[in-house]
């Protein structure tokens, strides 16, 4: 499959930056700036809440500083490694029950408000949020990486440390579960899915 030249440039550039960043703070900052947005967006897509996403994004990059010396790979592998750290950080955040309940409660309230207001995109977002947060973290991760971060199954497999075949079968199961959850949340919205 041909690689997008822009993507390839980004990956090649990263490989150089990684080498430099081991001893040069300016290079590390450049690497950080190149990946900040992607990590933040991933956290938003998982947590559905900006402030929580900002907190977790901070945690992710501080962990990168802490463990950067143990990373041995190129630009492509760096992205996978970053997603792994972000996935662990998001799952840790959600694991703290109180936070998950707060997020879920906020999601329900938002869903009620949005349904009442009938703004289609926000309505779907609220319903999706409610349904996603009830899934297991593993299923949330796979759906988010596939449909929001647009990672290929081979890339997702690298993040999760499994095989592309396993990722495909887990994705199918996750979608089936999500569909069921969406169906119980709001039949009007889910008629189209």
């Amino acid at each position: 499959m041909p690689v997008d030249p822009k993507e390839q440039f980004h990956v090649d550039n990263d490989s150089q930056l990684i080498i430099q960043a081991r001893s040069d703070a300016a290079a590390f900052v450049q690497l950080y700036r190149g990946h900040y947005e992607a990590v933040f967006r991933y956290c938003v897509h998982r947590l559905f809440e900006r402030h929580a996403a900002e907190d977790v994004t901070s945690e992710v990059f501080l962990k990168v500083v802490e463990s950067f010396h143990s990373f041995e790979g190129n630009g492509q592998q760096f992205r996978g490694w970053l997603y792994r750290i972000a996935t662990n950080a998001v799952n840790d955040y959600l694991r703290k029950t109180a936070r998950r309940s707060v997020l879920l409660k906020a999601a329900c309230e938002q869903a009620d408000n949005e349904v009442a207001g009938c703004r289609e995109s926000s309505e779907k977002l609220a319903v999706l949020k409610q349904a996603m947060l009830t899934l297991k973290p593993k299923h949330q991760t796979i759906i988010t990486l596939r449909f929001f971060e647009n990672l290929k199954p081979t890339e997702i497999a690298e993040v999760l440390g499994s095989s592309p075949g396993t990722v495909r079968s887990q994705l199918a199961r996750a979608l089936a579960k999500l569909r069921k959850r969406l169906a119980t949340e709001n039949t009007e919205v889910t008629e189209k899915f």
Partner: protein
């Protein structure tokens, strides 16, 4: 893309997330990262000052490996005095120490299943692994569901291409010729002679990346050690480190999925002196020795290695697909178990890796006895004098010399 996925993709396209980053947060975090980097840089300097002192003294005469071990000890001692946050350095140093080992030994413990005819069961598998680079390994089976195998020792000398099996219960020894023992590189499909397997060490190394939690000092077998943990998705790895040496003494891998049994690596010893006698191909006194020649011609052994790997990949496929074997071998590539290139190379003749397939697959029939159901076999025109290699649905492989028997099996 499947319909379900396509529908969900269309659904997602209609949703707007508030996912534009706040530049203030990005810039503030950048400042925090620079501060963290500066602190890390200051912390690193102390051990290197000591390193320079060491190099000026008699210790500078040590080998590179010994000097590096001392560096780990220094880092370990300094970092152990610090609060949480330095755990990752000790952890990484502990894992790195395994990489530099010329010898490695540990006891591996996990819950295993076994089958004996109709009987199935589980038992606590305990085995002691040792290796001495470049080419010697030893495995002791400390437990077994079958009493006669308890204490069985297998010593492999890849240089001499010989393997010694000792059975202390029966006091028998078997010396095997391994000159035609082949393996497949599952990344390239290349066929090669078996070599010293350091994959256990390499697997433990891969655990060093990711988040690290420091649990401080704990008691382990009467010894005070440092306990560190890392999490990667559903896998939790715990490492116990000897603060005096900086080496791991125990590693546990467990999963949040309860159906997976945890694995414990204990009594870990790194770069200690392992006597050559532990890897001797001479059986102990009082043992009855039998010498086993490699029964298969070399070219058949090569095909046999290919058939074994193909069988393994088919079983992996069946495992991922509710017991359904692939309808054709291309399915294992589609499933991502191996690539098409690897598959084609493995199917080809050993002396013609880019040539046509020389092995044929027949999907196992439903209800057939796996131990007598031929799943893979060597393609032939005229029946070869040496016979034909066949792989069975239970994973075993045979060289079938009798043509009538073979034709009966694939009827």
């Amino acid at each position: 893309m499947k319909d379900n996925e396509k529908q969900f993709e269309n659904f997602v396209r209609q949703i707007k997330f508030e996912d534009q980053p706040d530049l203030k947060h990005r810039d503030q975090l950048e400042q925090d990262l620079l501060a963290a980097l500066a602190k890390q840089s200051r912390d690193k300097q102390k051990p290197f000052e000591i390193w320079r002192m060491i190099m000026k003294t008699k210790i500078a005469k040590f080998t590179a490996a010994a000097a590096v071990i001392i560096l780990i000890m220094i880092i370990g001692v300094i970092k152990l005095a610090k609060p949480i946050g330095s755990g990752s350095v000790v952890f990484a140093a502990a894992m790195d120490s395994i990489k530099w080992a010329r010898t490695f030994s540990c006891t591996e413990i996990f819950q295993a299943t076994y089958q004996d005819g109709e009987q199935q069961g589980t038992f606590l598998m305990k085995q002691r692994w040792m290796f001495k680079e470049p080419d010697r390994e030893r495995l002791e089976r400390l437990t077994s569901p079958w009493p006669k195998y308890i204490g069985e020792i297998t010593i492999m000398d890849y240089g001499a291409r010989q393997q010694l099996e000792l059975r202390p219960v029966e006091k028998t020894a078997a010396l095997h010729d391994m000159s035609s023992d082949y393996d497949i590189d599952d990344k390239t499909g290349e066929l090669k002679l078996t070599q010293l397997d350091t994959s256990l060490r390499d697997r433990l190394l891969k655990l060093s990346a990711g988040a690290v939690e420091d649990f401080g000092s704990v008691e382990l077998d009467g010894q005070s050690v440092r306990m560190l943990q890392s999490r990667r998705d559903s896998q939790i790895t715990t490492v116990w480190v000897d603060p005096k040496t900086g080496f791991p003494v125990q590693i546990e891998i467990k999963w949040t999925d309860q159906s997976r049994s945890p694995v414990l690596y204990t009594s870990i010893q790194i770069d200690t002196e392992l006597d050559d006698d532990l890897f001797s191909l001479e059986p102990p006194e009082g043992y009855t020795l039998s010498v086993e020649k490699w029964g298969w011609p070399d070219d058949k052994a090569k095909i046999g290695a290919k058939v074994k790997y193909l069988s393994l990949w088919c079983v992996i496929y069946a495992n991922d697909n509710d017991g359904q074997f692939p309808s054709e071998l291309a399915d294992i590539a589609t499933a991502g178990i191996i690539t098409n290139e690897v598959l084609n190379r493995v199917l080809a003749a050993p002396d013609d890796p880019d040539g046509p397939p020389v092995i044929r697959y027949r999907p196992p029939r439903a209800g057939a006895n796996p131990s007598s159901e031929v799943m893979l076999y060597e393609i032939y025109g005229q029946w070869p004098e040496d016979g034909v290699v066949a792989g069975f649905a239970d994973g075993h492989c045979e060289l079938i010399v009798n043509q009538n028997r073979f034709e009966e099996l694939i009827k």
